[in-house]
């Protein structure tokens, strides 16, 4: 009742309204719990003594407080270098990709561009058909970017899907009349793009940056294929390594001591690594989140 009176034009809540509200909050609450619990569990596990994690004593809060696992993480050079590589790939890759996406999307959103249909068709073609793994590898080899940081950044430098969203965003938020008005005032195409389009496109820029950054942050396959130098590996590849090294064929356990050793290592590192790998996206997300819905929705709905 108190809630109902607080609203400016109090409308008597009916019984069924209240039931709906209760159901809503219960459902949402359960959903939140389902999402939150794994996060809390991982955090607690990373701060607990690994022995307690293995034996299942940790279920919500840390048991046997210990930050050893975080210390151990930083003992591994490859984890530290993997982290900085991942940051580099995410930041560098997303900036480059966003710039390219804007450059590709804006002209395609304008009416007057000759050959627009053909260019667009070519872009869309690549969404459905790809050369495949080995031809891509050959291209990377011939470009001389194999086993360099470029091999991670360049092939992922434009996602057609993002480009289409961005194009639609431009079409719907920057009307042709605005271009004409600017032209009447003597503004060039570049000037218009720089002074008018970009300031009006913050949401879509943020969306692009986030999409690209998250994609780079999570990716490991291109690094697996293109890189043969440990110092260039991103964090995800190192994470994968830790999980893999612990997978033994149980019937072929030649070295039981080795097995136990790897198990301990994995239990020790697994959770703290997940925490470390999750922190950067979690930190960035709140800042872009407000643009997120706006940008993506505007871009996708009004085709």
């Amino acid at each position: 009742m108190a809630m109902a009176t607080a609203t400016p034009a109090p409308v008597q809540e009916t019984r069924s309204d209240r039931i709906v509200m209760i159901c809503n909050y219960t459902a949402l609450g359960l959903f939140t719990l389902a999402v939150l619990y794994p996060l809390i569990y991982v955090l607690s596990a990373s701060l607990s003594d690994p022995k307690n994690v293995v034996s299942g004593k940790v279920w919500l809060w840390p048991v046997g407080w210990s930050i050893e696992s975080f210390k151990a993480v930083f003992d591994y050079d490859s984890i530290v270098s993997g982290f900085s590589n991942s940051v580099l790939y995410a930041v560098g890759g997303s900036v480059l990709a966003t710039v390219l996406t804007l450059f590709a999307a804006y002209p395609l959103s304008r009416k007057g561009l000759p050959g627009k249909g053909l260019i667009m068709a070519l872009f869309v073609f690549t969404m459905m058909f790809s050369g495949g793994l080995i031809p891509s590898y050959l291209v990377a080899d011939q470009l001389g970017i194999l086993n360099t940081r470029w091999a991670i950044i360049l092939p992922a430098a434009l996602a057609v899907w993002n480009m289409i969203i961005t194009r639609t965003f431009f079409q719907s938020t920057i009307p042709e009349e605005l271009v004409e008005a600017a032209k009447v005032d003597g503004c060039t195409d570049f000037g218009f793009f720089w002074r008018i389009v970009l300031p009006l496109s913050k949401p879509i820029i943020a969306v692009n940056l986030l999409f690209y950054a998250v994609a780079q942050w999570n990716s490991w396959f291109s690094a697996l294929i293109y890189l043969t130098n440990e110092h260039l590996f991103p964090l995800q590849l190192v994470l994968r390594q830790i999980l893999l090294q612990n997978q033994f064929d149980p019937s072929q356990v030649r070295d039981t001591a080795e097995l136990i050793r790897m198990k301990e290592l994995q239990e020790q590192l697994k959770y703290s690594l997940i925490v470390i790998a999750t922190i950067p996206p979690l930190l960035v997300y709140p800042f872009v989140q407000k643009h997120f819905v706006k940008g993506a929705m505007v871009g996708s709905l009004k085709g």
Partner: protein, 585 residues
């Protein structure tokens, strides 16, 4: 695997088109390769064994690697490019301590290229196949596990070097090892007699019997006043007694447990017929046996059906864990580690650590209550512990030399160098190993040769090659590891129980289906039918045991045999028979 392979073929063709005349190797037959062994690689003087080092105590009758004084291989530094798996234990291959030692000892420098992965996972192979197809090939691969069929495929294409002539002249340590393991020459050979990889020996005694291992709680056996069972009927009585006495308390007793990665049939079926060990995840071909030179499949035999009936009965009486086919290792460990006393009477596991945390300090620790059972004697007197003579011990694909390599002789000598006892210990345990004093006991109770202070990762990190090196770990070598008398591990009991409870019941070697090599087209068919059969037989077995199907019902049993026939059992057996005959030569 098949998918990758098909890609490789397509890519091979694309590779030719794209590479044009630029000399990129694409694996399309001889003549396209830009490189090949230099003629001088076969005219170098043969390598010889060095004199034995003193101060090492070998037990009497010891068969295995020995520490010798070895010569440097080259005086002028030579560099090879070698692709290796990434490993957290090795760290940076270039700055690794064993790498430095090898460089210093042999004079051979290695330019490492790391591939993410473990060397035997599908993703590593995807990467390696991409490299091969694109002609981006190193001098050698170390620790990348090509299957026998892949080695043969690439070898026949002249992409991998046939090491036969080099092994004869430049691998004295390997020659010694092959004398100790007479089956080795057959196991490393391809159908065209080529040897396309430098092999590795890891003769793990307890692994040879791993499929037939089941543990039973001897404390409980004593408590219910019975003896450790040796026949199927006694086993049933013991489990029934466990259940009745409810020694786990509050109805939590699990008379006999297991988990999904340890097949039940490798233990139980051996009371009815010989049924070999296999791994569910690996490339093994399970349930195949050789009878008088003929390859047969176990799962359509009447004895198999009798075994299913027995298991069906145990399950129906609640003597097997409900989740015996589905439990994960974590789940079974939770039963094993149950805080207020054991709840499990016995389990089909590979060793104690599979189902409980091992306390090595406490002499009364729970794991010590459990003992390896002898195989159970079935109603017709069958009592076999499946012994893996052939796929444990000799391993192929440890070092693969490619056609890019100008001096295969040097890489072969480099690999052979690693088979020396001291090199093995350094690459595997790090520089902190110790030679044992006279009188120190090893795992098998004889004179020990070496000891390792620590397996602790923090201390060996960056110092070893994490088992990726070429090694000659013979049975005697492995068992000559010193046991700390103050802190004995599970290694000795594991060895002793294997020796006393399983080894005496092993089947003759001729009955084991060997690891065979297939031609490319057969390999594809083999993989496809093999996968379907594996899935059908495993699922049906679970159904027959848990009562969703009844093995006593003729119609249901016939349905099952019809299904495996329609999957292609006959062509499958024909492929295996042909491959077996090729293997036998």
């Amino acid at each position: 695997m098949r998918k990758v392979k098909r890609r490789t073929f397509v890519a091979g063709a694309v590779g030719v088109a794209a590479a044009g005349g630029s000399g990129v190797l694409s694996g399309c037959g001889p003549g396209t390769a830009e490189a090949g062994a230099a003629p001088e690689s076969l005219t170098q003087p043969p390598a010889e064994l060095g004199p034995l080092k003193s101060g090492v105590n070998y037990p009497p009758g010891y068969i295995g690697p020995k520490a010798r004084r070895q010569q440097t291989i080259v005086t002028e530094p030579v560099t090879f490019t070698v692709v290796v798996p990434q490993s957290l234990t090795v760290g940076d291959w270039a700055t690794n301590e064993f790498t430095r030692w090898m460089e210093q000892q042999t004079g051979i420098r290695i330019q490492w290229r790391q591939v993410a992965g473990k060397g035997n996972d599908p993703e590593t192979m995807t990467k390696v196949n991409a490299m091969m197809a694109a002609g981006d090939i190193p001098d050698a691969f170390l620790g990348i596990t090509f299957t026998r069929s892949q080695l043969y495929l690439y070898g026949a294409q002249n992409l991998f070097v046939d090491l036969n002539p080099y092994l004869e002249r430049y691998a004295p340590n390997l020659q010694e090892a092959m004398k100790d393991y007479p089956e080795a020459p057959k196991l490393i050979k391809s159908p065209d007699d080529g040897v396309y990889s430098f092999p590795d020996f890891n003769d793990c005694y307890h692994c040879r019997a791993s499929g037939g291992r089941a543990l039973i709680n001897t404390d409980w056996v004593r408590k219910v006043g019975l003896a450790v069972p040796t026949t199927t009927e006694e086993f049933r009585e013991v489990l029934t007694a466990f259940k009745k006495a409810d020694l786990g308390g509050r109805g939590r007793t699990i008379p006999f447990g297991g988990y999904k990665d340890a097949p039940l049939d490798t233990f139980f079926m051996n009371s009815f017929l010989y049924n070999p060990s296999y791994s569910l995840n690996g490339g093994d071909r399970p349930w195949l046996v050789v009878t008088d030179g003929k390859v047969e499949a176990n799962f359509v035999k009447d004895e198999w059906r009798e075994g299913l009936k027995y298991l069906h009965g145990l399950y129906a009486d609640g003597l097997l864990a409900k989740d015996i086919f589905t439990a994960t290792e974590d789940q079974i460990k939770r039963y094993g580690d149950n805080p207020d006393g054991p709840v499990m009477g016995g389990a089909r596991v590979y060793y104690w650590g599979t189902f409980m945390t091992l306390d090595l300090d406490d002499p009364k620790a729970r794991w010590r209550q459990y003992e390896t059972m002898t195989p159970l004697k079935g109603p017709n007197g069958v009592q076999i512990a499946p012994w893996n003579y052939l796929s444990v011990g000799v391993e192929v694909s440890t070092l693969v030399v490619t056609r890019k390599c100008k001096r295969p002789d040097l890489l072969v000598r480099w690999a052979d160098f690693q088979m020396d006892l001291e090199a093995i210990l350094r690459s595997y345990a790090g520089p902190d190993f110790r030679w044992s004093a006279k009188g120190d006991k090893g795992i098998n109770g004889k004179q020990s040769v070496f000891g390792m202070e620590s397996w602790n990762t923090d201390e060996t990190k960056g110092k070893t090659w994490d088992q990726y090196a070429v090694m000659y770990r013979s049975g005697d070598f492995r068992l000559a590891e010193r046991v700390n008398p103050k802190k004995p591990t599970f290694e000795s009991p594991l060895y002793e129980e294997t020796r006393d409870h399983l080894f005496p019941y092993k089947q003759p070697m001729e009955r084991q289906f060997p690891p065979v090599t297939l031609e490319a087209d057969q390999a594809a068919l083999d993989a496809e039918i093999g996968l379907n059969l594996k899935s059908e037989v495993t699922t049906s077995m679970a159904r027959f045991v848990t009562g969703r199907l009844d093995p006593n019902d003729d119609a249901q049993w016939n349905d099952f045999t019809d299904r495996v026939q329609s999957i292609g059992l006959t062509p499958y057996l024909e492929i295996q028979q042909a491959a077996y005959e090729t293997y036998q030569g």
